[in-house]
Symmetry: C2
Amino acid sequence: SINGDRLWDSLMEMAKIGKTAKDGVCRLALTDLDRESRDLFIKWCKAESCTIRIDKMGNIFARREGRNPDLPPVVMGSHLDSQPTGGKYDGVYGVLSGLEVIRALNEAKYETEAPLEVVCWTNEEGSRFAPAMVASGVFAKVFDLEYGHSRADVDGKTMGEELKRIGYLGDDEATIDAHPMGAYFEAHIEQGPILEDEGKDIGIVTDAQGQRWYEIKFTGVEAHAGPTPMKTRKDALLGAARVVDLVNRIGLDRSPLACATVGMMQIHPNSRNVIPGEVFFTVDFRHPDDAVLADMDKALREGVEKIASEIGLKTEFEQIFYYAPVPFDKTCVDAVRNAVEIGGYSAREIVSGAGHDACYLAQVTPTAMIFIPCVDGISHNEIEEVHKHWSDAGGQVLLHAVLAKADE
Amino acid sequence: SINGDRLWDSLMEMAKIGKTAKDGVCRLALTDLDRESRDLFIKWCKAESCTIRIDKMGNIFARREGRNPDLPPVVMGSHLDSQPTGGKYDGVYGVLSGLEVIRALNEAKYETEAPLEVVCWTNEEGSRFAPAMVASGVFAKVFDLEYGHSRADVDGKTMGEELKRIGYLGDDEATIDAHPMGAYFEAHIEQGPILEDEGKDIGIVTDAQGQRWYEIKFTGVEAHAGPTPMKTRKDALLGAARVVDLVNRIGLDRSPLACATVGMMQIHPNSRNVIPGEVFFTVDFRHPDDAVLADMDKALREGVEKIASEIGLKTEFEQIFYYAPVPFDKTCVDAVRNAVEIGGYSAREIVSGAGHDACYLAQVTPTAMIFIPCVDGISHNEIEEVHKHWSDAGGQVLLHAVLAKADE
Ligand SMILES: NC(=O)NCCC(=O)O
Ligand SMILES: NC(=O)NCCC(=O)O
């Protein structure tokens, strides 16, 4: 059995790093706070006699040896970085429940056949550096190292520079080829309302939605808000506003499965009495069916072109991120299902709405995910909350799923 | 006669302070660059033997004595602050053409009956500190000193603090009562396309449009862009986007006289995969007819309420700035008209689309404005441009209008 109290205490301890006024967490990737959380994680892992390996993308692997060191490890994990207004569980739960599995096995002096590892992936959130899950993407050979290191934040600082600055640019090759895995399990909060609504403790994640992310820039003509007649304006914000409405309709028309969001917008020069000359904004599309995702893409491209030509705006349009819907590995999903039965938890199958490092890992190693509910389905928000018995259940299911694979 | 070359040279010299890459000017109110421009203006005025007075709002008055020092001065001027992406002429032209009038009179050893003054008003643009024209507003007793000093920028720095910091918090009372004027003349670029389109060198400004400025904040619920179903979202940016479209329609429906603009928007947390929980934005309405302006106000209030309730957003709504359309003084407008005839310039009557310090001055002293064209009507843009013969013409008309009043 895992120790639910110890897992909970570690979650609360980690949440102090980057704690916000509203009791959330702001711990953007590769900031000093991210370094602090990494340092603490490593300290805890060393206390459990794990060996630590850091790769060229800053991914941290903590290893507990198995009876047969030649077997590829069964890996658990997630990420420690957060959104600007993030919560205490998104990512952290997957890392620390992995650590709790190791603590529990150490306490029970239980030796597994295959080695176990807990991994912390760099920049999962995609908030400071787009796109999301970039370091697990490099590990899964979706991106090359050069791409990973060159991702830049709004100030132009790159991931490579920032990894070096915080002391987490490791020597190890950051690919699955250098470090094959037996299986990968990621425990995570659902970040949506389904499990709580249906009173389930565990989500057996069978698939993850596909995603497409875009960057759009409209350029019009900035001019004085007073003496510039309405009919001669080329208002870049008007164009962006119409795309926000379009994106919402694209999502609603394909509801309930589709999601469509404009989350970020930068207006230039952003002065009350100046018609905006330039607006940069992002679009995030999700759907479990790749064909529908392609159809959403088409609707966006056509709509943006129409809106821009109506107003007379110049358009820069780029899809910066795409992955097809991900089916998880049947044997790993079965291991989760069996672990749920052993624990006697209420559960249902579920499709992940969010992207996770597991989505990239699934392309290169047998992978599954375990969801626990979160209160009101709210995440990417400082008020993100989890009931402790959910946290206990997720840790317990992770333990048994991992043991099934490691001793197989 | 004024010396058009000297006026032009001074404009170019001043434009070096805060020069931008695209040959525009960024000289926000009460920044170090604003201080530099003030210092240069004062240096030039002292070289013309003017006495300098600075009031509690940082307004600078440079005085050339008249034959009868007891007469209230005839005052010329405008402002030296700019938009973030501003041009070389907006405001500066009114200050430096006033200085050129004094230089020309000194050169000609011409003594006026009434004293002359050139004034530089603080924070006309309203970009760093809202609202616009706040210091001339205090001078005209529309606002009190406490209100003026407490206006804050986005970082919370107040005008009072920043005046002190740059050394321009003067001792003089900042009201017309302490410093009566005989008349006030402001030369300015049109900032719209009418004069150039019709091939006129001078606009005889008879009126200025009324304005209403608003601040609106929508609060929804920030949540994850992936697993949060479209139907349960409370997306603050969707609400703001719909208001941008509404504002545009309110303007277009009352075209060609109405103007309606959303110039500024701040999105929170502004992360690609987070549904925006909070959006702050501004609205700027203008119309020469106060009744229509009131009707625009009604349409906005109703529309915002409807949009917010459709999406389920909390609304904070405030009108932060209002003035009714301004008729300028008949005798001063006639003085401009006569000066145009003396110079033999092509001219037309015009209504100002922009707000100017003259709009507040008009409430407390006989006031008129002189417009010169600007290329393509573009202003509040780094590419703002003026042909030199327009600049010459405006300075000449200002000279003769002022002389008519000062020797009356
Ligand atoms: N789990 C999570 O919040 N991932 C961030 C990437 C995404 O937006 O799906
Ligand atoms: N002239 C000018 O740009 N004034 C700023 C205030 C306004 O927006 O009308």
